[in-house]
């Protein structure tokens, strides 16, 4: 292939391919992961109490210190009130009318490897397109990308089913396992870092999570190690009336590197389900973490019935000098999104980046953004947020850029753009900019506009129908962010953008 062809092929892959649009149309306007797996589950009794907290801790065979940690969080939580400052409206959540623990019965005795896991569960992931076999993952397109490996931790309701490629990762010194396993196998690391970025007192939902988290992923990359493959956790809520409270802890030791992907789906149900996760990332000197999320929880139907309430606390602490973190999120699902992946830029010369696509259609409400807290000298941050509102949805960017007095010679650049499709939705921008030293430079730009009529007409005059034209223009609008995703995710995200906007025109 000539250089020209390579370039052209790369470009054909960009934007929306015809194939993407066809796939979208073939899906007949609905959420594609809305089916459920019929499987026998063991539940803890409904509701929340100290006994439930003890039960969860007991199920995971946790040490005393962790139970105490959970109970302290629970007692604290009882005194807290739910935050209502976000621009989202929902009826009061009855925290006693939920299950806090649900585990497939077949997982009662923990399988030794994925080969022993109930085939029904494995089939669930196969249907979702998540590889739970240790196979090469081929990038979806025209043989362009090299075969790559992605290690997966599969979390089903409250428990981790298992993790792939563990042996190969262990050879490199990388620990990748469920957090319940890490508590048992690597207690020192967990005790040292758990709650050190998001303390159990942090906020209402994080405190709730601290009390009742049941599983999640743990990653440790030793000094100087570049993780040999991408790591990924795939969250599936399946059981009814069950909240998912996972906790992820990633520690990148000095001069290490890891790219981590997170995906999530849930069945279609008429009732709302609560998801209150915590992700903590610790990054030491010269280390780098890339964290990408494609959030595709069930968004509810056109009338706003059902869908996930997603109240998530994600924070990265660039604890060392020259530490670097990059958050990329594609938020297409959930009835309510309340999520602000943040960067504490503590080390000198550390860097934080946040790239976000948030799409809200129908009755969805999203209030999402980031916090960039500059504490170290010469720290840099960059925020690119693309919000798209359609239907009757409300989409809010909320962000904080804070330059502390000692964070001299630091930089921030923020761009947040909103696109409106239809006249019944809302797009809002609520940035907080706090600059407490003069040598730092902060730039914030935001725009809000509708999908450009001239662009749509131009596309249509070349033969594309309205929905294809909107998908094309919207994909152009979000391209800066899509480009920051790993290839497989970029393809998935791109088709999700189109799917999420179905029915928004005409």
């Amino acid at each position: 292939m000539t250089a020209l062809e390579t370039e052209l092929r790369a470009d054909v892959r960009d934007g929306v391919d015809r194939e993407t649009i066809d796939t979208v149309q073939a899906m007949s306007g609905s959420y594609k992961h809305g089916w459920e797996t019929e499987i026998e589950m063991d539940y803890a009794p409904k509701g929340l109490s100290e006994d439930i907290v003890r039960l969860i801790s007991g199920k995971n065979n946790e040490p005393e210190w962790l139970l105490d940690w959970r109970l302290a969080a629970y007692r604290r939580w009882l005194k807290m009130t739910e935050p209502r400052w976000a621009m989202v409206h929902y009826p009061d959540i009855d925290y006693q009318d939920q299950y806090y623990y649900a585990k497939p019965r077949s997982m009662a005795v923990k399988p030794k490897s994925l080969d022993e896991v109930d085939p029904k569960l494995l089939a669930t992931y196969e249907k979702l397109g998540i590889p739970l076999k240790e196979q090469m993952l081929l990038a979806g397109v025209e043989g362009a990308a090299e075969p790559r490996k992605v290690a997966v931790d599969a979390v089903f309701d409250s428990v981790s089913l298992g993790t792939t490629f563990k042996a190969e990762l262990a050879k490199a010194g990388v620990i990748f396992c469920s957090i319940s396993e890490a508590v048992r196998e690597h207690p020192d690391l967990v005790q040292k870092y758990l709650g050190s970025v998001v303390p159990p007192t942090d906020n209402f939902f994080a405190t709730l999570n601290s009390a009742v988290f049941s599983d999640g992923s743990f990653v440790y990359i030793p000094p100087g190690v570049r993780c040999p493959m991408e790591l990924s956790t795939y969250f599936r809520i399946n059981a009814e009336n069950t909240g998912q409270f996972e906790r992820t802890l990633i520690v990148a030791d000095r001069a290490s590197y890891v790219s981590y992907l997170e995906g999530c789906t849930a069945p279609k149900r008429d009732t709302h389900q609560l998801h209150a996760a915590v992700v903590e990332i610790v990054i030491l000197d010269d280390a780098e973490v890339k964290y990408s999320t494609v959030q595709n929880w069930y968004p509810g139907d056109e009338e706003g019935r059902g869908g996930i309430y997603n109240f998530v606390t994600k924070r990265a602490d660039c604890r060392g000098d020259r530490a670097k973190v990059m958050w990329t999120q594609v938020e297409t699902g959930s009835a309510i999104t309340w999520k602000y992946p943040s960067c504490i830029l503590r080390g000198d010369d550390s860097q934080g980046e946040f790239y976000s696509i948030a799409i809200a259609n129908n009755a969805q409400q999203a209030d999402t953004g980031t916090k960039m807290v500059h504490l170290g000298k010469r720290t840099k941050s960059r925020i690119v947020s693309k919000g798209i509102s359609a239907g009757r949805a409300q989409n809010t960017y909320r962000g904080l850029v804070s330059m502390h007095p000692k964070a001299t010679d630091s930089r921030n650049y923020t761009q947040c753009d909103s696109l409106l499709i239809g006249d019944r939705c809302g797009a809002h921008t609520v940035p907080y900019i706090e600059v407490r030293n003069a040598s730092s430079r902060v730039e914030h730009e935001a725009t809000t506009s509708k999908v450009d009529d001239d662009q749509l007409f131009y596309c249509r005059s070349r033969g594309m129908d309205e929905e294809a034209a909107v998908a094309l223009v919207v994909n152009g609008f979000v391209k800066d962010v899509l480009q920051t995703l790993p290839m497989e995710f970029a393809m998935e995200a791109q088709s999700l953008v189109a799917i999420s906007l179905e029915g928004s025109v005409g």
Binding site: W85, L420, D423, C425, A427, T429, P431, A438, A446, T448
Partner: protein
């Protein structure tokens, strides 16, 4: 019901104020007092007071402020032909004022209008302030409506041939003043209002501006150079179809200044421009809080706020463009920028967009940073001395705000003030 702590703060604040009942004004005051009773005075944990501590504004007694002598700098607007109305510590000074006669303009004082049974201002006094309490409470404005002792009521039916100039002077170190002005421009009318001077040790002002179809209102004010004053000012404006509102505020010094502007664009094709330039050195806290609501179709709004800060000065900007579902074809623009001349200063901003209509073009930008060293070097390499080069760059930074002044003579006057300020505050 107010929590007890807040109720106590409110009682302490109003204990020394005399409430004047009776007549149309008394009724408006009673309404305001009951609004105030519902919301209480501002507190630091209120969302729109997170960057400005209201303590001095809500304290029972006004913190003392030394009076101020501007030396040989002539008063602002000195060279402008205008109709002067002078207030000394909030008391109208008839001797120092011009005869309030201007073709097509009715001018009354609040204190005398209160004695009449019927006055046009009863349709306006406290009305726009009350509308402006939603969705964000502005308790200091309600406090003003309830207790203001004086103000001017201006009704314009034609094109006012001269600007009306409100001149405030501050003679007592403990004066605590509330003035409340109402301005109504009938269809097609035009008026320019100038305001300048330090009004009191602590000043609370409300100006309600009601613009009928096609009316044009231009407002330029220079808040005084006296450093120790505290001020909370409010402008509430309502615009009918095709009306134009344009305002510019220069704030130099002042330990605490909060300028709130609340504008509703109700008619179609109306336009509102609000601009401000603030310069502060040392103990200076300056807060612009601006809310513009678009309801009519095809309206335009522009917010341009620039702050130059040094020696620990604090600049705050909270601005919102709210576009309701009816306000298609809205063009909204907002920029807030700070230039920090040394390490200690702070810029705190919350520039918001809240948009419910799709066919709109709205944007905002906010920047903060030091002076551009490359530009400074370039000027010096061309032979401009450093101080002069710095002044030049600071004025260039402020230019976009000053451009919002339509009258070139006034703009030049303001520019001169800024140059003087910069030369006084060099180094």
């Amino acid at each position: 019901m107010l929590p007890k702590a807040r109720a106590d703060v409110l009682s302490a604040r109003i204990a020394g104020l005399s409430f004047v009942p009776g007549g149309w004004l008394g009724a408006a005051r009673e309404d305001a007092l009951s609004r105030l009773g519902m919301m209480g005075l501002p507190a630091r944990r209120d969302e729109y007071w997170r960057y400005t501590d209201p303590a001095d504004l809500i304290a029972a007694a006004a913190p003392a402020a030394a009076t101020f002598d501007a030396g040989d700098e002539p008063p602002v607007f000195d060279g402008i032909d205008r109709l002067k109305l002078v207030f000394v510590d909030g008391v109208f000074d008839a001797a120092a004022s011009d005869d309030p006669a201007l073709a097509g303009v009715e001018i009354d004082r609040l204190s005398t209008a209160a004695l009449t049974d019927i006055h046009w201002a009863r349709e306006l006094y406290g009305v726009l302030e009350a509308r402006g309490q939603n969705p964000v409470a502005r308790p200091l404005a309600a406090l003003n409506t309830a207790f203001a002792t004086e103000g001017v009521l201006i009704r314009v039916t034609g094109r006012a041939e001269r600007p009306i100039s409100l001149i405030y002077t501050h003679a007592s170190e403990t004066s605590d003043v509330a003035l409340h002005h109402c301005i109504r421009l009938e269809a097609g009318a035009e008026l320019t209002v100038l305001e300048n001077g330090p009004a009191a040790a602590r000043f609370n002002k409300v100006m309600e501006v009601d613009l009928a179809e096609g009316a044009r209102f231009h407002h330029i004010r220079a808040q005084g150079r006296d450093h120790e004053r505290r001020a909370a000012t409010h402008v509430f404006a309502r615009l009918a179809e095709g009306a134009r509102f344009k305002s510019f505020t220069l704030t130099a010094n002042g330990v605490l200044t909060r300028n709130e502007v609340v504008i509703e664009l109700l008619g179609n094709e109306a336009s509102a421009h609000v601009a401000g330039a603030a310069v502060g050195d040392g103990q200076f806290h300056h807060d612009d809080t601006v809310f513009i609501t678009h309801e009519g179709r095809g309206c335009e709004s522009r917010q341009v706020f620039k702050k130059v800060l040094k020696n620990g000065a604090v600049g705050v900007f909270q601005g919102k463009i709210l576009v309701r579902q009816t306000a298609q074809k809205t063009d909204g623009y907002q920029i807030s920028q700070s230039l920090m001349l040394d390490e200690d200063s702070q810029f705190l901003a919350k520039p918001e967009l809240e948009i419910y209509a799709d066919d709109v073009k709205c944007s905002h930008g906010s920047t903060s940073g030091a002076i551009d060293e490359t530009a400074l070097f370039y000027l010096r390499a061309r032979g401009v001395p450093e101080k002069a080069a710095q002044s030049l760059l600071v004025l260039a930074f402020l230019a976009e705000a000053i451009q919002e002044i339509a009258d070139e003579a006034i703009a030049e006057d303001i520019r001169q003030r800024l140059e003087n300020w910069l030369s006084r505050h060099e180094g």
